[in-house]
């Protein structure tokens, strides 16, 4: 199996790019947005289809990609043309800059900048809130993230296949992590095995980096410093994710080292099955939270379901967002990581994360291991 890069850095497939760009333009039209300025890497990737250098952690807003409604033109922040498709011409590429005034000059060069009435961004910083009006003097600045979320929420078939390929890789990396897992091995060495397998397979970018942790028998949610050696009987969570071709795949399993905790793990399997059964097409997403209530288990501090796709994606179903869950529907075409979490004092925790695509017929697991 290989990743997406082989020996050349290539843009995303033409059909995928075209379909995504069309959706983004349709969402812009519906919101009356003339120019969309994207800072979030996943939004830029969605529109431009260009792999750029990955770094970890959130980034403050900077104009990384500009989409013009009237022409469909894309302007992209990249100092070179590697991985840039021919539909983004050289004169639409702009280089890395540390000088905000140079960025303003670039934006002034976007066709229609002087007259654009509505300019959308996907988030903002105080600095760019001050600077953008210098490039778009006639514009009102509006929410462009909502438009992108609508475009991205339900996946195209091609996108589902991209996510599926990412999930297959995660499973392969988790298998490598399981092989490493043994009494006396530190958590971080298990994480290291996951990362090594990922890179060997052609993908060098994880979606999360806390792959393996020994669950606590004393606290419902606690990860150690990674240096603790695994002991007989520990319940160890293996939770991995990769970003392959921009798309995230995520899977988690829990292993009882040396066996044991059979009843507890059986209950975790029941919870997982109940969560999957609650994935009814068109049903309220709050049904997922109800499953925890029925089980008499508090939901985890992390979302019970969250979108998989390019980066931040809907739905986000969490105990702290009850209204959102009540109003959200599990629409066919949504893809999400479904999280089962149980903890018992003196035993530890069991976590399952299953990547699921909603279809008209029900949930379909994207893992190869269907059990």
């Amino acid at each position: 199996m290989t990743g997406t890069m082989v020996a050349d850095v290539a843009p995303d497939a033409p059909a995928l790019r075209a379909e995504r760009r069309e959706r983004a333009l349709a969402a812009m039209e519906r919101d009356g947005i003339d120019v969309l300025i994207l800072g979030r890497e996943a939004n830029a990737r969605y529109v431009a289809g260009v792999p750029r250098l990955w770094t970890a952690g959130s980034r403050p807003f900077t104009p990384g990609c500009v989409l013009v409604a009237s022409t469909g033109d894309i302007h992209l922040l990249t100092t070179w043309d590697e991985g840039v498709p021919s539909d983004i011409p050289h004169d639409h590429l702009y280089g890395i800059t540390f000088n905000p005034m140079n960025m303003v000059e670039v934006l002034r060069g976007v066709s229609g900048a002087a007259t654009a009435a509505r300019v959308g961004t996907d988030s903002l910083t105080p600095m760019f809130a001050q600077l953008l009006p210098m490039a778009f003097p006639a514009a009102e600045f509006v929410d462009g993230e909502s438009a992108m979320r609508r475009a991205r929420r339900c996946k195209t078939d091609a996108e589902v296949e991209e996510i599926r390929a990412s999930v297959v890789l995660v499973e392969r990396c988790l298998a490598a992590a399981v092989s490493e897992l043994a009494v006396g091995v530190a958590e971080r060495n298990v994480t290291a095995a996951f990362m090594q397998e990922m890179a060997r397979s052609g993908v060098t970018t994880p979606s999360s980096q806390d792959v393996a942790w020994i669950t606590s028998r004393e606290r419902p949610w606690q990860r150690g410093d990674g240096a603790t050696p695994v002991s007989e009987g520990d319940l160890v969570v293996l939770s991995g994710g990769v970003i392959r071709g921009g798309y995230s795949g995520e899977v988690a399993r829990t292993v009882a080292v040396g066996g044991g905790s059979a009843d507890f793990l059986a209950r975790s399997a029941e919870l997982r099955a109940a969560l999957l059964a609650a994935c009814v097409p068109g049903a309220a997403s709050s049904g997922l939270l109800d499953v925890y209530e029925r089980f008499g288990a508090p939901p985890p501090p992390v979302p019970v379901a969250r979108g998989l796709g390019l980066g931040f994606d809907l739905p986000i179903i969490a105990a702290d967002l009850p209204e959102t869950a009540a109003n959200d529907r599990l629409d066919p075409g949504t893809v999400f990581a479904l999280t089962g979490y149980l903890w018992e004092h003196g035993v530890g925790a069991a976590m399952t994360v299953d990547p699921v695509v909603m279809t008209d017929r029900g949930p379909e697991l994207l893992t190869e291991e269907r059990a």
Partner: protein, 412 residues
Amino acid sequence: MPAGLMERVAPASVPSTVDVGAMRADRIAKVRANMADQGLDALVLLGNTNVVYATGATWPLGDPGRANFEQPVAVVLADDEWPHLFTPVPDSIDGCGLPADHVHPAVYLDLDEGARSFNRRLAELLPPGGSVGVDEWTFAMARECAWLRSSGRIRDGGKVISKSKVIKTPDEIAGIREALRITEQAIAVVEKSLASGVRQIDLTATFLRAVFEAGADANTLDPIWQVMPPTMEDGPWTTHGDLACPLLTTERELQRGDVLWVDTSITHRGFHSDFGRTWIVGDEPTARQEAQFDRWQEIMTAVLAVTRSGAAYADLTAAARSVTHGHTPWMSHFYLGHGLGIDAAEMPFVGSDLGQAFDDSHRLEAGMVLVLEPLVWDDGAAGYRAEEVVLITDDGWEPMTDYHYDPFGRTR
């Protein structure tokens, strides 16, 4: 000279371990002083590294897309010595000592309900009519959080953090040194594996395995092992006609004699590292390549000779150019030097496109950690690039690492 430039490797002023409590207290005092300067009653911070700095909480940084929903948020109040932390990862506070009543469940600021709930909780903390600075915001916040425009306009809270973090405390310097040490331990393993037929991704696989085993919390830069073309013309088109670098790692197989420019960064307990060297695959450098390295050392030596507290950034750029007859010996889309610590690249930026006037008017200060990254491009035979990390002191600088330059300079 190798083993030479960076031989004084243990600044006596740096403790061997980080006192997290003292570090947090130092930081929050600086942050509150800078808030007072700007007339801010509260700071709301969303940026991952800003939250790490203000609270001392750490967690393994994820993909930037994932970071938008798994986003700890910090609130710093002018009259409170403890910051508040809203976090989806409750164990991120382990070791940072925040009182329990300052730790709150996650807020989802990308969603209207999340922003509304944050707004309610913030109202309980903020003085009525208080002035709030923020580093960035979502449109859900713009809809739900009236305090965003509490003083008629949105106030920049990010600047408070950039200003506070630029001078490192002894504990922070110890933390950065540990991140550098972990990185170099892994790099040494990668260096041993370097051979013809190995793919670039294999170097990444070896690096990731070794760096996590060595104790890294997260890898923070998709590692760069760029094969440099002999001439610039053989590389990709660029917007500025200068070198294309860094280019992404692929499954490309390395060949004997390939010139690799290496660049990596990780985090450990909230501190970033940076590493840069030039390697040659399966071969010794030619005389011409050794000459490139000699020239690079001349540039580095000239720059370090003027590097001290009080030096204008322009003193360093002029020193570098004095060796190259006025030509700019660093990547024009980056800089001659950048700060390091809480972020992989932070203030100060020396020799960037902020321009000559900026470099003339800004000065180094003791306690800054500076990564110097000059390069020598020798069209027809690629070039040499490496990075050195130094601590700025009152009378000069101290090295932060002592990693060797192999395979360069070994014959002398």
